[in-house]
């Protein structure tokens, strides 16, 4: 299966707002920890190692 990179979010603006809202009142360390838990939860939801590896590569592409 291919990683979905075309628009797929039901409600992009609502999601983005909820994402930022979830981090409210957290310091940096707590936010990083939240993000890590979020990645793990989403990864489990996806399940497929192949898709996850595509996502890891796509994300890495934005870094050096």
């Amino acid at each position: 299966m291919e990683l979905i990179t075309t628009p797929h979010l039901e409600s992009p603006d609502d999601f983005y707002e909820a994402l930022i809202e979830t981090h409210s009142d957290l310091d940096n360390a707590e936010s990083h920890a939240l993000n890590a838990r979020l990645v793990l939860l989403l990864a489990n939801h996806i399940g497929s190692l192949d898709v996850l590896q595509q996502a890891l590569q796509a994300a890495r592409g934005g870094a050096r």
């Binding site: 990083h32 920890a33 890590a36 838990r37 990645v39 793990l40 939860l41 489990n44």
Partner: protein
């Protein structure tokens, strides 16, 4: 080293004991050192007439009971090969297969051991962050518990690339591929009594033949091998309907019991008594039935040529 000082160690030990049933236990510090994990192996386990096994060949961290297990597996892999070569029944090259197979298995052990080590002692801040996230989630989320890696139990390596394997003529799914340790399965003997497959295997080569149109011809061709000085026990199996749902939970016995189709095809002189079991596929069943054939067997006939 600061950490070796008794005044640093004793409070830590007391703190650990305080959370256990031994919280009031008295103890004395006998000896203190700093243990660091190390995973390493020799490039080659065979150097001519010198053969390396166990800790002399590879070292792993202690998670998963891999050090002692792999040492015993090295010895078991080597024993029958060395015996065959010393007795002049197999070429010297058979010993190279020991090195190839056990180097591969050592890599697998080291890979698993390193993963556990990295979980237990994260090497970077981000690694620590994810480890802690896993531990936090595992309190409430079942999926996260599968990521908690305090050492995976050692299981026999499947020797996919072994030089003793010959290619599969047909593709079949499942774990019983060439190079895999033989799994046990319940069987019914010709007299109707119940038994287990692994106990029916001989101490030398065993050919498992599933019943089919070509099984007679295959059994005859194995007799030819016997004439060349390789005793082969032949087990002919029929699938039993009552076994179709049977799934072995895990491999019960390793031995050096890799499934290898006809290794003698590769060896100019066949090795003789060997704890090597050979799976010979006689018929041309589709993959699905074939897998069932490996999980549940009905033993139709057992013969031994010696």
């Amino acid at each position: 080293m600061k950490r070796r000082k008794p005044e640093n160690i004793i409070p830590r030990v007391k703190a650990l004991l305080a959370h256990s049933t031994m919280k009031d236990a008295e103890f004395e510090l006998e000896w203190a050192s700093v243990y660091t994990f190390a995973c390493l192996r020799m490039d080659r386990f065979r150097h001519g007439r010198v053969i390396f096994a166990g800790d002399s060949a590879h070292g792993v961290s202690p998670f998963g009971a891999r050090g002692a297990n792999s040492g015993v597996q090295d010895a078991e892999n080597l024993a029958w090969k060395l015996a065959a070569v010393v007795a002049g029944e197999a070429p010297d090259a058979l010993l190279d297969s020991y090195a190839d197979e056990r180097e591969y298995a050592a890599d697998e052990n080291i890979r698993n051991s390193t993963r556990a080590t990295d979980f237990i002692t994260p090497k970077s801040e981000i690694s620590c962050l994810f480890r802690d996230a896993v531990l936090e989630l595992s309190k409430t989320q079942l999926f996260a518990r599968t990521l908690v890696n305090s050492g995976r139990l050692s299981v026999p390596a499947t020797l996919h690339g072994s030089t003793l394997n010959t290619p599969d003529a047909e593709s079949f799914a499942g774990r019983m591929v060439p190079g895999a340790a033989a799994s046990d399965a319940p069987i019914t003997r010709p007299d109707g009594s119940a038994g287990w497959l692994l106990r029916e295997l001989g101490t030398g080569f065993t050919a498992l033949i599933t019943e089919g149109s070509e099984s007679e011809a295959l059994a005859r061709s194995i007799q030819v091998l016997d004439g060349l000085g390789t005793p082969v026990k032949v087990l002919r199996l029929r699938i039993g309907p009552r076994h179709r749902r049977y799934r072995p939970h895990r491999q019960r016995r390793r031995a050096d019991a890799a499934l290898r189709p006809a290794p003698w095809q590769r060896l100019p002189v066949p090795p003789r008594p060997a704890r090597l079991r050979t799976l010979a596929q006689a018929d041309r069943r589709p993959g699905q039935e074939r897998r069932q054939a490996r999980l549940g067997h009905r033993l139709k006939e057992s013969r031994s040529w010696n």
